[in-house]
């Protein structure tokens, strides 16, 4: 038994070492470049980094992107979660359809999807509002595949039917069922879904850019054109920013778990993992 543990630990260390090398070395190369001076033998400088805070647009863009992330997450929880619960309980035949629809956004490349969605946004701009916050409707679409997967894993881990029937037999309305029974029983899944929504929104570029809005990634593009060093410095900075944000959110999740009302389904199946954030940002 302990020999197995030692072998396991050795394997883990080897894997982590290789992974660290593969993932951290290129970032190290970026950081190294961003601190280069001009000319071959010049000393290291942080001037590329210093240029970042001096762009006024960046502060607005960060705020706006955080707002978008919040709204998208709330929309996701308010629209997708009740729908999934309802389908599981009352309309199981629709399960496959909903799943398929939630996987669809991954099939259409972002650059093409934005071409299709642009007429809609023009209509919205002309008839309702110009605000960048309307982007959250489009972002929710992009987030669907990952949010669905995360929430689905969470719903599968709890015995939804029994819990809801018990609550309803005690006289709870559907609102109470959702807020005080379902949600507290899947904190990890909800956190994961929110995490991935946040990171997708923070990393999204294509939609904002082609719809003439200025979000965080668009502003970063602009800053990066100030100088060669700044273009790389700002990329590293945004990676660090996103990392810190995700770490904070992951700690927030664990504290909530202790506040469950009904007996939480803490089986090994309960998803503890975060789910992938935007890959469509890659496509941006």
């Amino acid at each position: 038994m302990s020999r197995r543990r030692i072998r396991l630990q050795a394997l883990r260390i080897a894997i982590f070492a290789l992974a660290a090398a593969f993932f951290l070395v290129p970032i190290g190369a970026m950081f190294e470049f961003s601190t280069r001076g001009i000319g071959v033998a010049s000393p290291r400088t942080l001037s590329a980094w210093a240029a970042i805070p001096s762009t006024p647009e960046l502060a607005t863009a960060i705020t706006v992107s955080l707002e978008l992330a919040l709204i998208t997450s709330l929309l996701m929880l308010g629209l997708l979660l009740p729908t999934m619960v309802w389908v599981r309980l009352r309309l199981p035949r629709l399960n496959r359809i909903v799943e398929f629809i939630c996987l669809m956004p991954l099939t259409v490349p972002a650059i093409a999807l934005v071409v299709g969605i642009k007429p809609l946004y023009i209509w919205i701009s002309l008839n309702f509002t110009d605000s960048i916050l309307t982007l959250s409707f489009a972002y929710l679409i992009l987030v669907l595949p990952y949010a669905y997967r995360s929430l689905d894993a969470g719903l599968a881990a709890i015995d939804l039917k029994t819990l809801t029937e018990a609550a309803r037999s005690l006289g709870a309305g559907w609102g109470t069922v959702m807020l005080r029974v379902v949600v507290p029983n899947m904190p990890a899944a909800i956190l994961n879904a929110s995490l991935l929504s946040a990171s997708l929104v923070l990393g999204e570029y294509t939609f904002a850019n082609l719809l003439n809005y200025e979000n965080l990634q668009v502003a970063i593009q602009y800053v990066s054109l100030v100088s060669a060093g700044t273009s790389i410095a700002v990329a590293v900075a945004s990676l660090l920013f996103a990392f810190v944000l995700l770490m904070i959110l992951s700690f927030a999740g664990s504290r909530r778990r202790r506040g469950g009302r009904v007996v939480p389904a803490e089986t090994p199946i309960a998803p503890v993992a975060t789910v992938p954030p935007s890959l469509l940002a890659e496509g941006s």
């Binding site: 470049f33 054109l225 060669a228």
Partner: protein, 321 residues
């Protein structure tokens, strides 16, 4: 003019697109305009292509007011522009503008080969690039199948190798040879790749090449005397511009001595340069810093660019991939 200034200030905003700050000194042009008229400027999609600029005309209040596009895109989209003639309209040569003012050239330059003189030997002809000293060093600043700049790089290579503005095949063949010898680096050349040494030899507009001088003090530009390919960009005003007065004021600023000299400082050749030299308002130091034009410039027409583009789109991948 005063009425225009007042109307523009009342609008208070201007939206421009695809104007990177280090492209022909646009950073200074934008801040100059902001400082002079106190009008806020929103700069969209700085890395966008000319086609992106016109695609952004969506009729909303966030659409760009003015665009700075390549010739092919300008000619193809005149229906979307509003005609306007700046104060100095007569200074712009006849061939460089559309007669009613739908588009008019703003600045141009010549396709050159920029290189880091500490990393490669001095370049005296395009064929030098096939030498072994250039292994894994030669790059383009854009994909020729979609970028105006990239395409003109291939056209220049073609003319320097016996082709012409009507025959771009020699250029594609030249790059094929570069690739076979291992000299071609398919990475898109940017300020970062130049500074890091990833693309020490870069086919680029000479005014953009000039901006690398601040990162690499030993950067030099070579324009082949037998292939001086000129390229001009054009200004146009959005017919449905959300801020029409500010748009026109911006054009006035760009074509004023101040605006034109700022572009000159960025290494580009402003369209009014001849007129300004004659009247003495040109910035003499900046003009002197421009590389000399070693031969007779040739400028591909819209048709020639289209034809070249079609050939390149069909044959480029096979040649260099």
């Amino acid at each position: 003019m005063d009425a225009l200034v007042k109307a523009a200030k009342a609008e208070g905003k201007l939206t421009v697109i695809a104007l990177p700050p280090d492209w022909a000194n646009y950073g200074a042009v934008i801040s100059g305009f902001k400082a002079k008229y106190n009008i806020d400027i929103t700069s969209l999609n700085p890395n966008g292509s000319s086609q992106d600029e016109v695609n952004a005309f969506d009729g909303t209040s966030r659409a760009p007011d003015v665009v700075d596009v390549g010739q092919a895109v300008a000619l193809a989209n005149t229906a979307k522009f509003a005609p306007y003639q700046v104060k100095e309209w007569s200074d712009i040569p006849g061939g460089a503008k559309e007669s009613t003012g739908l588009w008019f050239n703003d600045y141009g330059g010549y396709m050159g080969i920029g290189y880091d003189s500490t990393k490669v030997p001095a370049i005296t002809s395009v064929q030098d690039l096939l030498g072994s000293a250039f292994k894994s060093k030669v790059a383009l600043a854009g994909d020729p199948t979609k970028s105006n700049q990239g395409l003109n790089g291939v056209i220049m290579a073609s003319v320097a190798n016996g082709g012409s503005l009507d025959d771009v095949s020699k250029g594609v063949d030249f790059f094929k040879q570069l690739k076979q010898k291992g000299n071609y680096v398919p990475v898109v050349g940017t300020a970062a790749t130049v500074k890091s040494g990833q693309t020490p030899v870069l086919f680029e507009w000479d005014y953009l090449s000039a901006s690398h001088g601040k990162d690499v003090p030993t950067w030099k530009i070579f324009v082949p005397s037998n292939a001086v390919i000129g390229g001009y960009y054009s200004q146009a005003i959005n017919k449905q511009a959300p801020h029409p007065a500010a748009a026109r004021l911006w054009e006035e600023y760009l074509y004023s001595d101040e605006g034109q000299n700022l572009w000159l400082k960025g290494g580009a050749r402003p369209v009014r340069q001849a007129a300004m030299t004659a009247s003495g308002t040109v910035d003499k130091t900046a003009a002197a810093a421009l590389p000399a034009v070693p031969g007779t410039p040739q400028v591909p027409s819209g048709d020639q660019t289209s034809k070249a583009s079609q050939y390149v789109v069909a044959n480029w991948s096979a040649a260099v991939a």
